[in-house]
Amino acid sequence: MTMTMTAAERTEETPVFHVVDEHEHPEGHSTLLGFWIYLMSDCLIFAILFATYGVLGGSFAGGPTPKELFDLPLVAVNTSMLLFSSITYGFAMLTMEKGQARQTQIWLAITGLFGLAFLGIELFEFAHMIHEGAGPQRSAFLSSFFTLVGTHGLHVTFGTVWLVTLMVQVQKHGLIPANKRRLTCLSMFWHFLDVIWIGVFTFVYLMGTLR
């Protein structure tokens, strides 16, 4: 009797080791965290490229040194392009929060133009260096330089392609929740690239000139 009682009591108060009621999973509720984790993995790619540059950055193989190659005023202009694009993307996000599709589009377009200006200046710099005989195959320093800065440039290129895609999306569907989510992801991507650029201009250009 007592045995069965305790058994009954036990079944009543069986501790639950799992979530009983399945809670809702609204569409895209984990996208931002997932995207953040992607950015963190991207961060590791850049960490490796920075480490490679740090190791090989002094191996000039008798070739040109950073001091001879880098044009700091040009790099400063380039940096300001990326900084301006960051703040204009911030404004795009603010107008998106207010639901002003037209304004958002304008700010996105300005951001895209700053991104293109950045890429244009970077390609000009690369072309100039290669023309002077300081291409990626000249020395270990230049190989690692082109890999690191080129990877960042590729990211900006794809960011710009993504930006144009989202402008078309907003034009077609307006500021629906899915588009807002996509714009938030791109804002993280864009600001993240600016963070990487801080490392590039400090570690590669400024430290290189000091070397």
């Binding site: 931002l32 740090g54 005023p73 940096t79 960051s86």
Partner: protein, 135 residues
């Protein structure tokens, strides 16, 4: 972590589902304001201008300049994280911060380890004889 939170919320019953949805909407993605973006922008302009000015004018000697621009870069990265990426300990229930801390640890090990090992490898390398002096 999340299982624990759910079981402790379970007695709330009906309100739970609502609570959860609201929770994600509030601090799932933090939003900036015009003020916070402008503060971030002005700070990063200053923090970019100083290192360029230091290197281009050569006010300090090389070691001091290098240390100064490294420190300013770290500060600027933190400024960008807070004002542009809206990073804080509450985003996504702390998981974003956790992922970032993990990444920073791996990045520091990668960078410091590579530089340290390769620097020692370089300095301990056998001196190469001048090729022109070889028979």
């Amino acid at each position: 972590m999340s299982t624990h939170a759910h079981t402790s919320h379970a007695p709330a019953g009906h309100g739970h589902g609502h609570d959860h949805g609201g929770h994600h909407h509030d601090d799932g993605h933090a939003h900036g304001t015009f003020r916070s973006y402008m503060i971030g922008f002005v700070l990063s302009v200053i923090l970019t201008a100083i290192p360029f000015w230091l290197v281009m004018t050569g006010k300090l000697d090389n070691t001091q300049t290098a240390l100064a621009i490294m420190a300013l870069a770290v500060v600027q990265i933190v400024v960008h994280m807070i004002y542009f990426l809206h990073m804080n300990g509450r985003v996504e229930g702390g998981w974003s911060m956790l992922a970032m801390i993990f990444t920073i640890i791996v990045v520091v090990i990668c960078l410091a380890g590579s530089l340290w090992v390769m620097y020692h490898l370089n300095t301990n390398m056998m001196p190469m004889p001048d090729p022109s002096q070889l028979p």
